[in-house]
């Protein structure tokens, strides 16, 4: 967080503080824009307005207390953060979660991915000036929230995935409701396409805007749909499978041009794949080989003590490659916990791709990166 002062501005240029209070910065991001008329000469993203010192807070909490903090990282997809944290701690402490818990984890994280991408779909449409898709997306997201409320009592911040498993087994009647939702949701994706994806105005706003080439995307360390839209086939679920993703049958949608539309459409296709994975999980959970109720590893204490060592676990969150780097010195608290927030790394590329675009494109590019400031600032 630094004071960017409008130095070296020519007479026909203008300095604009785009944020931190602006309708379309999705939180408290500030972009120091230098514009010439409508054309951006220089754009410098400035983060840190939501910095809560998470990594320091982890050091003063036990492993199970730290889980609550992870909800607040990327608050749109809380289950992904829980899962990433638990994977790291489990790796550090050498805990193996039961198979049933792993299926439930995959199921919950795919549902959460759909919810998160729905938020993206809605807010991106609002950025483009279309307000209606927002409420369509939130209508469906509301159902996922209800499902999570049944599952763990929380709607936004779940803390459902715990170190060693999940907090509780699926309640009675949940799988039916979940199937009902998934069956309802699948045709809705076509609805979204007719409403927004096929709209010529929308295509002209997003196609060819904010192009990121594949090698730039890799060099900037982008991840998730932002990376895959540039045609780089890197999905942690496939490249470094965790939980039971190795058993799942799904494809990774790839883009071609790396423009805003590809980033948008990658996420739309990913939602379809998430539905497929969720169905597979539900089928597996109905199978006989998974004992109902066995969702927590035996002997995992609330006062968990991990042996001294270091571990890094990463997973495919809805915004990209979410990693937790955990260091233990044998005590009750993590000695050090570093969060590799995909939003933090994705948003850095703004300084390169904003140059030369229009002010309206700033909104499109920022929306298509789909950042959550809770994760950027930590």
């Amino acid at each position: 967080m630094t004071k960017e002062t409008p130095t070296a501005i020519k007479a026909d240029q203008m300095f604009i503080n785009f944020g931190p209070q602006h309708p379309s910065t999705h939180g408290v991001l500030r972009i120091a824009l230098t514009v010439e008329g409508e054309v951006v000469i220089k754009g410098d993203p400035d983060v840190g307005f939501l910095h809560r010192g998470m990594e320091k807070l982890f050091e003063a909490r036990t492993y199970s207390q730290g889980l609550i903090l992870t909800d607040r990282l990327d608050y749109i997809s809380a289950t992904h953060n829980n899962l990433g944290y638990c994977l790291a701690v489990e790796k550090l402490a050498g805990i193996q979660a039961p198979l049933r818990a792993q299926y439930i984890r995959v199921l919950a994280s795919e549902l959460n991915r759909i919810a998160s991408h729905l938020v993206f779909f809605g807010t991106f449409a609002v950025d483009m000036g279309a307000f209606t898709p927002f409420l369509y997306a939130f209508r469906e997201r509301e159902m996922i929230m209800d499902l999570f409320e049944m599952l763990c009592g929380g709607r936004l911040l779940h803390s459902y995935v715990r170190v060693g498993g999940v907090s509780a087994d699926l309640p009675a009647g949940w799988t039916e409701k979940c199937r009902e939702f998934l069956k309802f949701f699948k045709p809705m994706l076509k609805d979204y396409d007719t409403l927004l994806s096929g709209n010529p105005i929308f295509r002209s706003r997003t196609g060819g805007v904010g192009v990121i080439s594949a090698d730039r995307a890799v060099s900037w360390g982008l991840s998730g749909p932002v990376l895959r839209a540039s045609g780089v086939n890197y999905d942690v679920r496939k490249a470094d499978p965790y939980c039971v993703y190795a058993k799942m049958n799904f494809t990774v949608p790839l883009g071609k041009n790396g423009d805003c539309f590809d980033r948008y459409y990658c996420r739309m296709l990913e939602m379809g794949q998430s539905v497929e994975i969720a169905f597979q999980c539900l089928d597996a959970l109905a199978g006989a080989e998974l004992t109902p109720g066995e969702v927590m590893a035996k002997g995992v204490s609330k006062m968990l003590k991990a042996p001294a060592g270091q571990a890094y676990a990463h997973m495919e969150a809805s915004r990209g490659d979410l990693g937790f780097f955990a260091v233990s010195d044998g005590g009750l608290n993590p000695y050090r916990m570093h969060v590799r927030g995909p939003s933090f790394i994705n948003v850095a590329i703004l300084q390169e791709i904003l140059v030369g675009c229009k002010i309206a494109d700033v909104v499109a590019i920022l929306g298509s990166l789909d950042i959550v400031l809770g994760e950027v600032d930590r």
């Binding site: 967080m1 840190g48 003063a60 001294a308 060592g309 270091q310 990693g323």
Partner: protein, 178 residues
């Protein structure tokens, strides 16, 4: 060729490169001296297609904290200074995790530098653009300077911030925001 073999090959040119005793779990972990960080990564990227920089972070190994104002863990007796852990050393450990997207190989490189004001390692800016903000964050949190970084400023905390928060000896001075 596994990541360990690649690094063993590199060891011929960089004798300071040694395999780490306590690795990051499931990662081939090697320790690299500060002066050859940049060259090693350049070689890894250009010759061995390690093109994706996952993480740049650091650990302050000077001992466990006894934070004021935070709930104390029962392991630390109330009010008592934390016992220096067996792992306590007076070093910063800069950790790099890097991936080769084409082969799926991952490895971890560590760089241990003496823990002092103005501790510095070479920047990876230019080899990996992903290093830009991650190095700024490490500088912000640990005060480790990255030589050759063009824009090494605080990123998450205020520019008026005193001290480096993730150092183990950091003490928060109350300011107008408290």
């Amino acid at each position: 060729m596994t990541a360990d073999e690649i690094l063993a090959k590199l060891q011929a040119s960089f004798p300071g490169l040694v395999k780490s005793e306590a690795p990051v779990k499931e990662y081939p972990t090697w320790t690299v001296p500060a002066e050859s960080v940049r060259v090693v990564f350049e070689r890894l990227r250009s010759k061995f297609s390690f093109d994706y920089l996952d993480v740049v972070t650091a650990t302050d190994w000077s001992g466990p904290i006894n934070p004021k104002g935070y709930p104390q863990s029962p392991a630390v007796a109330a009010g008592a200074a934390a016992a220096p852990s067996a792992t306590a050393k007076d070093i910063f450990e800069v950790v790099y995790l890097v991936t080769a997207l084409s082969t799926g190989m991952r490895l971890c490189l560590r760089c241990e530098i003496p823990r002092k004001e103005g501790a510095s390692v070479p920047s990876l800016y230019g080899i990996f653009m992903a290093a830009d903000w991650q190095e700024r964050e490490v500088y912000d949190m640990f005060g480790i300077h990255f030589e050759g970084h063009p824009n090494l400023k605080r990123i998450l905390t205020m520019e008026t911030q005193q001290g480096y928060p993730l150092r183990k000896d950091y003490e928060h001075l109350p300011d107008k925001f408290d």
